[in-house]
């Protein structure tokens, strides 16, 4: 309605009609608010009653816990056909399962399976809408539904970031290190946050061999390579030293940076020499990382190289070189002071390192 039509409605000849129209609209609005509040209140009551029933089920189940073989289904029947009710029960069971272990936790899974909630989760997982799909995966994983593993594995390479992340989390949750198999076919990004999450999840499992690690380090997906480098670093996979060195030739600065860190953690006698060769072709961030790793893994043979770095243009490189020299042999603080006599910047660096050593 344009403004002209609106003002015509307010004119005296249309007054009755407009008053009736506004009254009708107001009534409609009030009716809608009432209906909305009524539905909300009804749902609240239903949820409250279901929570009560779940509470009773828990108490009852616990009295049967000793023989371990009973499961009683609460009578949700009057409301069970409603989707929101089933979702509410699923959410509550998942929350509860997160808090308890042992027999009661198994009983929760059985209740979920026997009352048909599992079918809902499976249907959600196959939904076309990504948020439902990722929710379905989460529910099946939380309820330990291993039969859905192969379907979930397909979603680890989904083009939707959230579905993909949920599926990867589920696969690792189910299978630990074996679940990393999804990296073989991953064509989409594996973001930093997800990498941290997966590493944290793996931490709960006993370390296992990763036979596909060399191929992940050669993957065409740069995210897979970065993650494989982190796995190599965390789980000290010395056998892939050669593949990690190959990563230093990558065009991707982040891969090279992670490769430098990883080499530092799986270093052997030639590693520092390799890193020193790499130094002259690197970005400042990666040069800093090389100096750090040289400080950790270097020997007296590397001191001359590091002394040379004290004359770099970039002050952060000078400082890191100074730190590396002292890290290799703390007595070299004297060498630094000697050099500092002719250079005020190195003098400040020497003081800074001395402060770091004493604090």
């Amino acid at each position: 309605m344009n403004s002209g039509a609106f003002f015509r409605l307010l004119s005296p000849e249309h007054l009755y009609f407009s008053a009736a129209l506004f009254a009708l609209l107001t009534l409609l609005l009030v009716g809608m608010i009432y209906l909305f509040l009524y539905i909300k209140k009804r749902r609240f009551r239903v949820k409250k009653s279901i929570t009560g029933q779940l509470n009773d089920w828990i108490s009852e189940q616990m009295t049967m816990e000793e023989d371990g073989s009973f499961i009683t289904l609460p009578d949700f029947a009057p409301h069970f056909k409603k989707k929101y009710v089933r979702q509410f029960i699923t959410d509550n069971l998942i929350n509860f399962k997160k808090s308890v272990a042992g027999h009661l936790s198994d009983s929760v899974v059985r209740l979920y399976e026997h009352s048909g909630l599992k079918k809902d989760s499976e249907a959600r997982m196959k939904s076309l809408r990504w948020h439902l799909r990722s929710r379905g995966i989460y529910e099946l994983y939380m309820m330990q539904q291993r039969e859905s593993l192969s379907d979930i594995l397909d979603y680890t390479n989904s083009n939707n970031e959230y579905v993909r992340m949920e599926a990867q989390t589920a696969i690792i949750g189910f299978d630990g290190f074996k679940g990393l198999i999804f990296l073989n076919d991953l064509h989409y990004p594996l973001y930093e946050w997800q990498q941290i999450k997966l590493l944290e999840q793996l931490d709960a499992f006993n370390s296992e061999e990763m036979p596909h690690l060399p191929s992940w380090l050669r993957s065409a997906n740069s995210y897979v390579v970065q993650f494989a480098l982190k796995l190599t670093e965390v789980y000290q996979q010395f056998r892939v030293h050669g593949e990690v060195v190959q990563c230093l030739g990558s065009d991707n600065q982040k891969i090279r940076n992670q490769a430098i860190k990883t080499l530092g953690s799986i270093a052997h006698e030639d590693t520092v020499f390799i890193l020193r060769q790499q130094y002259f072709t690197e970005t400042i961030a990666n040069q800093l990382e090389i100096l750090r790793q040289t400080g950790i893994n270097g020997t007296e043979e590397d001191i001359e190289f590091l002394k040379g770095r004290l004359y770099e243009e970039d002050d952060s490189l000078k400082l890191e070189a100074g730190r590396a020299i002292v890290a290799i042999t703390p007595g070299h603080i004297a060498t630094l002071k000697h050099i500092a006599a002719n250079d005020p910047i190195i003098h400040s660096i020497a003081n800074q390192i001395k402060y770091e050593l004493t604090s």
Binding site: T51, S59, M62, T63, F96, K98, S99, V100, G102, L104
Partner: protein, 120 residues
Amino acid sequence: MGKVLLIEDDTLIQRAVASKLKKEGFEMVCCNDGKEGLEKLATELPDLVLTDVMLPYVSGLEIVNAVKSLTEKPIKVIVFSTMGQEKIVQEAFDLGADDYITKPFSLNELVIRVKKQLTR
């Protein structure tokens, strides 16, 4: 066997823990939030407090602090935490918590810990 004050906002967990401990012979007092927990603490004077760290209105840490500093009766405190809340657990210990249990926990393990605290 002893009076236990349980402060947990998740009613399902509250019921599960309370049922289990009642079955073991403990007298249970339950509350849904920290504010109610503080009130019950003063009126019920339990032998042991079981509290979640994340609670509405008043946090589990404040509960621990209140138990250890405001009451004269020596009351034991066990804190419920979840994975990744190690810093909060450390804070709880600094405030005087006696033990903690990480979710998901077995109810049988919880009973053992409660009994251990109350027999000390």
